[in-house]
């Protein structure tokens, strides 16, 4: 199916409208999908989250919200008793804020991974790293999205 630019824009706008309606009045949706903060709390079990160590790389402006490259790397020696266990990525302005969770092992060598994600609108992307000793670190980057990538 050919999707021309106008149709694409209409669809995207529709998706954005849907997302914002859901955000303001859609309690049903909110009840199903936890917010980004809730997801982070569930991930850390309420433990304090430090700054630093994690570096999240995203473009400042994403022209196409359908494929936004993100890269995360965490400072760690990555030895058998001191490594990065997991890194959760959430996007606080998506209808479903969960993006992906990378699970590393001591065999990773370096805690670094990248992927491509969808962003519905301009928002923050947050990476929370869980270390093998149970401590948490995070990084946050704002991404401006020109065309949302959730519905269209």
């Amino acid at each position: 199916m050919e999707l021309n630019k106008r149709e694409f824009l209409t669809l995207s706008a529709g998706a954005l409208a849907f997302a914002s309606v859901a955000g303001t009045s859609g309690i049903a949706l909110a009840a199903v999908e936890p917010t980004a903060d809730e997801m982070i709390k569930a991930f850390t079990s309420g433990a304090a989250v430090g700054e630093g160590k994690v570096s999240l790389t995203t473009p400042e402006i994403a022209e196409n919200g359908n494929t936004v490259p993100v890269e995360v790397s965490v400072e760690s020696p990555m030895t058998a008793d001191n490594y990065v266990a997991e890194v959760m990525i959430v996007a606080d302005g998506n209808p479903n804020p969960g993006v992906a969770t990378f699970k590393f092992s001591a065999m990773s060598g370096e805690a670094e991974a990248s992927t491509r994600i969808r962003l519905a609108q301009t928002q923050n992307v947050i990476a929370v790293a869980k270390m093998s000793d149970g401590s948490f670190f995070m990084d946050k980057k704002a991404v401006k999205v020109t065309i949302g990538g959730c519905g269209g």
Binding site: A15, F18, S105, M107, S108, A113, G151
Partner: protein
């Protein structure tokens, strides 16, 4: 929809203990469950790849839990420290239970 085809790039050789970069891509529409059918106005049900695993000689070394926010044709790049020659096995799991697999050998030394 065409069958999901995995593509993986692993170096053929490496030094012992070298940290290598692995790039993976699988063709998949990653239907987010947020889109509506244009004709009927009904939500198109979610169908995504929800999990990716990379195992080296039988041990899982890297795993990703994937949510609908990951783009279509999900691309994942990560690193692995290779101690010895062996085989990487990559597994993608679909919402519908299908499993897509591929494997690559690496020679160390």
């Amino acid at each position: 929809m065409a069958k999901s085809k995995p593509r993986v790039k692993v170096p053929k050789t490496a030094d012992a203990g070298e940290i290598i970069t692995i790039k993976t891509l699988i063709s998949h529409q990653m239907e987010s469950g947020q889109r509506k059918d244009k004709k009927t106005g009904e939500l198109i049900p979610r169908k995504i790849i929800n999990n990716f695993k990379a195992a080296f000689n039988g041990t899982v070394v890297f795993e990703t839990v994937i949510e609908p926010a990951v783009s279509s044709n999900p691309y994942i790049q990560f690193k692995v420290k290779v101690p010895e020659s062996g085989e990487f096995k990559f597994t993608w799991t679909d919402d519908d239970g299908s499993v897509y697999e591929t494997a690559k050998k690496i020679k160390v030394g």
